[in-house]
Symmetry: C2
Subunit: 213 residues, 2 copies
DNA sequence: TAGATTGTTAATCGATTAACAATC
DNA sequence: TAGATTGTTAATCGATTAACAATC
């Protein structure tokens, strides 16, 4: 096709692609060079037809009877998920969770570059956490605009999350990764990804209650 | 009906209930006593019919024209999600993310009691982190069995996550909250909730690419 | 009563699963 | 060639959305 597809990629597919990539990394470390959907299917508990459809969105083409080239498939996933790019992000709220995220090296290989942390605590502002400079929250809006940062990570308590989101949006940030347990009001052109641990815990607890013993 | 319903609660419903609860907390703080589904619907961006169905699973009954009593509804959600109970859990991997989770006070009100942390680093073993004792990983299996702990939280690097999961299961743990970016092989009677930040980032990045400017 | 809201049933939509044709 | 595997189309399933009846 000559024009870019407008059909949205299903969210479950997007969530599975990194898991496939992780599995492929293991296979590659074992010296394997080829993989079939059946193989991935058995390892991750996803129907092989589903795996095939998921992989297809990345543009990879497999070979009947042999499967996919592992390195080629990994590159295809990386490029599709934008792991080759560098997206700059600001993080607000350098508490224990914020510090953990600042220090997580895994994001670097996923195209995410957290360039600075922001907080209001005078004991933290001006220091470095995991090599990242911590600045006062009052500087977030201006710096986001000046540095063309478009992604924000919110790790502040729930009661100040909306204020932080407003400051981010005022600075031109249009993608927010929200770890505060509260929903944010944002304009239509701003995308928010909520990371709610209470929700995940609710799912796990319910599965415990309904599990076969 | 006289026997307990066997129909599983939809996962999206379970994920939304804590968000409703959070919103109700705000309303209560404002001195409100009643709430309608329309009100919740507008605040959280969920269709009011959906809200009504979600709330119904908790057993709450509303009153036409008036809506739901906020305090009663909060209690209904809390009781349905098991937030009145006390589930003991062990956490393995006291790095930055593990420490953050050990220190997160929000879990206490959600029925989760992390009783101890485990690690192999001699510099951490024997200390306390956020008031929780850190023990050597070798003691996890035995203590889980002796203390009847059935939930485990994995915050170790991907390459040792499977080993930690095996130790947990050997100790009688049958619910695992996995923060390591790898999928775990577990027996059928063990439930696993994967918390994969790379997956969430993939969804957010894709939404950025497809967003209306 | 009239009207707002709940609760429920039906229709729609989208993802998963199954069936099968194409291909190396 | 035969058979394993991909790629695609059709069927199923489950959640969301819409329609509407019940009720205070």
């Amino acid at each position: 096709m000559s024009q870019p597809s407008t059909r949205a990629i299903p969210e479950p597919t997007l969530r599975r692609l990194p898991a496939y990539h992780e599995f492929l990394k293991k296979l590659r470390a074992q010296g394997k060079t080829l993989v079939s959907c059946t193989h991935i299917s058995e390892a991750l508990g996803v129907y092989s037809t589903q795996v095939r459809k998921d992989l297809a969105v990345t543009g990879i083409v497999g070979r009947p009877k042999t499967g996919y080239d592992i390195v080629e498939l990994m590159r295809s996933i990386e490029s599709f998920l934008g792991w080759d790019d560098r997206r700059s992000a600001f993080l607000a709220g350098v508490g224990s969770l914020g510090s953990a995220i600042l220090g997580y090296r895994g994001f670097e290989s996923h195209g995410l570059n957290i360039v600075a942390g922001f907080d209001t605590d005078p004991g933290i502002v001006g220091t470095e956490v995991h090599g990242k400079t911590i600045l006062h929250l009052d500087r977030l809006t201006g710096l986001a605009r000046r540095m063309h940062v478009h992604m924000g990570i919110i790790t502040v308590p729930a009661d100040v999350a909306q204020d932080v989101a407003d400051r981010m949006i005022a600075g031109g940030i249009y993608a927010i990764w929200n770890f505060a347990p509260t929903s944010l009001r944002v304009p239509d052109n701003v995308v928010v990804q909520n990371e709610n641990l209470a929700s995940s815990l609710a799912v796990l607890s319910n599965r415990i209650a309904n599990r076969e013993p």
